[in-house]
């Protein structure tokens, strides 16, 4: 195995002073310097353009057209209707607008629940495994498994466990502990929402654990020790020293998990199929249904643009509030 010296923050940052030319010391290939980096990033730029940038622009255009299955074969000629799709989407009295409003609220509730639970579980795991404990390596490997298992496989497993008559969940709740008298259906009706939350948290918390552990390992232990000498409790030390020290990473972790959860598609799709029960319809599923089940692609696109603007606003606000200046480029 190859090992190499890992540098400290300060070293890396010192080398990245703006304006510093990091090419050969004698400037022998100073002319090449101008085009080589551009050639190196070209493939990435082209790929991003084709798969992301052009589709996003096209998506904004689509949102202003009446693109339905009538025009799907010949979509470049779909009639332009400007902001009508947005008007439908934002009209709280209309069927589409009220469904969209409900779905946004439901998606927000889902996001807050999943992020909060995943963060708490991940933090607990990271905190106890950042101490000297026997078998830490084994636990760390084990806890990564839910994240490593492909989404579709773990969700299929959960859909088996949640099945009413053959599932492990009802077996435990009803047969073994007798907490419930009747076997509930978990995958239809209002219970579907909670089933979806459980599966999403089970998949996501190892990510929080991984990132928070990496962050905790960067906090010097002397700080904690000094606080302990001063008589601070573990909880005090955690709140006043550990949390502030890992704040930048923490903010990024929460933001990433929030964006993932808000855009969650795979978990409900594998759990319920293309038409989930209403209680488990998240935004992504609603837009998918409009676009590919009803073929109202113009309307779907308008919803997408609204979601993007919302996420952009929330993310910028979040970064401004929680990420200190100077670290934002990281």
């Amino acid at each position: 195995m190859v090992t190499h010296r890992s540098e400290t923050d300060a070293e890396v940052r010192a080398r990245r002073q703006p304006g510093q030319l990091s090419d050969t010391p004698n400037g022998r290939d100073s002319r090449r310097r101008h085009w080589l980096p551009y050639v190196l990033i070209l493939p990435a730029v082209v790929a991003e353009l084709i798969i992301h940038v052009v589709p996003i622009v096209l998506g904004v255009w689509t949102s202003m057209t009446q693109l339905t299955q009538l025009h799907i074969r010949d979509w470049t000629n779909a009639p332009v209707i400007w902001f009508d799709n947005y008007r439908h989407g934002l009209d709280p009295a209309g069927a589409i607008g009220s469904a969209l409003g409900d779905t946004v609220l439901r998606t927000l509730a889902f996001t807050v629940l999943v992020v909060a639970l995943s963060w708490i579980i991940g933090m607990l795991a990271a905190y106890v495994l950042n101490t000297r404990v026997r078998g830490a390596r084994g636990f760390r490997l084990l806890f990564l498994v839910p994240f490593a298992v492909p989404t579709f496989a773990s969700v299929l497993a959960w859909s088996f466990m949640f099945s009413r008559d053959q599932g492990a969940v009802n077996h435990v709740l009803v047969d073994q502990f007798g907490l419930l008298d009747e076997r509930p259906f978990w995958l239809i009706g209002d219970n579907a929402f909670w089933a979806m939350v459980v599966v999403a948290v089970w998949r996501l918390w190892p990510f929080a654990f991984l990132m928070l552990l990496a962050a905790l390992q960067g906090v010097p232990g002397e700080l904690d020790d000094a606080a302990a000498v001063d008589g601070a409790s573990r909880w005090r030390t955690f709140r006043s020293i550990t949390l502030p020290a890992i704040r930048p990473v923490n903010a990024v972790v929460i933001l990433i998990m929030g964006l993932w959860s808000f855009n969650e598609f795979s978990v409900p799709y594998v759990l319920f199929g293309p038409r989930p029960p209403e209680s488990a319809t998240l935004l992504a599923a609603l837009i998918y249904e409009h676009s590919f089940v009803h073929f109202g692609m113009g309307l779907g696109a308008a919803m997408n643009v609204l979601v993007l603007m919302f996420l952009l606003g929330v993310s910028l606000l979040f970064l401004r509030l929680f990420v200190p200046h100077g670290r934002r480029h990281a």
Partner: protein, 278 residues
């Protein structure tokens, strides 16, 4: 920090709880995959009454598992290799040169990660179908369409992580080699890449895992012939009677390669995360 008995009990409790919530679902899958059909059709039982490997044999004919598996392998392997190539080049440029637009590029790459996949799914579908109309090249329902798309999904993380790792490779060696007349590309190929080999493996596995598990785009951009595991197995549970033992066996078969790869390389992935976070 001193560890009192209270804390040790707390730690024991937390670790027990976490181990349970992690292991129980995995146990359910594995134990159900070795039960005879009668055992998974009635009430759930923790201990299999009888252990049989027949689900692992029969699942190949119940579901077109081999076809899905091959499709997933092709799509994931090719898109991961491409992502690695593209990301190595971009990350080397970012870690070794200061050039006009480097920050903009870095930011643009990261921000594409923020855009919900749903937003470019429909347009991408439209573009791909238009390519067929205009150029006569079929993209939807082919491996190529999935490969190009999945490649871009792992690019942001791959570039970000590799930039951090390349920055951690001491430059003195490289500069000596440059003086010795090895060109920039030579230095990248013969000095930087060999040093970064474990990291490259980690990023490659990461990209592979992303493509292997992707559901949304695979559900729209693949057809019956190119369907990957992620979409194919899902379609199976819509049938009226589900052979759960065989489906669990198929899930195990679909998971083992990526889980093993992921766990083998997780240390390098961790180090990459650490480097990227700085």
């Amino acid at each position: 920090m001193r560890e009192g008995p209270g804390f040790r009990w707390f730690r024991r409790g937390v670790l027990t709880f976490l181990t349970l919530i992690t292991v129980v679902p995995l146990y359910v899958v594995v134990s159900s995959s070795v039960k005879p059909l009668a055992d998974v059709q009635g009430r759930f039982s923790w201990i299999p009454r009888e252990v049989t490997l027949s689900p692992y044999v029969d699942t190949w004919t119940t579901v077109p598992l081999a076809r899905y598996l091959v499709n997933s392998l092709i799509v994931a392997a090719v898109s991961a290799s491409l992502a690695l190539l593209v990301a190595v080049a971009a990350a080397y440029a970012l870690s070794r040169f200061t050039f006009r637009g480097d920050r903009a590029f870095r930011l643009a790459v990261l921000s594409t990660q923020m855009v919900p996949g749903m937003l470019f799914l429909v347009p991408l579908f439209l573009i791909f179908s238009q390519v067929h109309t205009w150029l006569g090249i079929r993209v939807i329902g082919t491996h190529a369409g999935l490969i190009v798309t999945f490649m871009t999904f792992s690019l942001p993380f791959a570039i970000w992580m590799l930039t951090g790792l390349f920055a951690g490779i001491p430059r003195e060696v490289e500069e000596a080699a440059l003086l010795d007349g090895l060109g920039r590309i030579g230095v990248l190929l013969r000095i930087v890449l060999p040093l970064a080999r474990p990291a490259l493996a980690a990023v490659g596995i990461f990209a592979f895992v992303i493509a292997w598990g992707e559901v949304l785009f695979a559900s729209v951009l693949s057809d019956a012939d190119t369907r990957t595991l992620a979409v194919g197995l899902r379609a199976y549970i819509t049938q009226s009677t589900v052979l759960w033992n065989e489906l669990m066996a198929a899930s195990v078969i679909a998971s083992v390669p990526v889980v093993v790869g992921f766990l083998m390389l997780h240390r390098h992935l961790m180090r990459g995360l650490g480097a990227g976070l700085r």
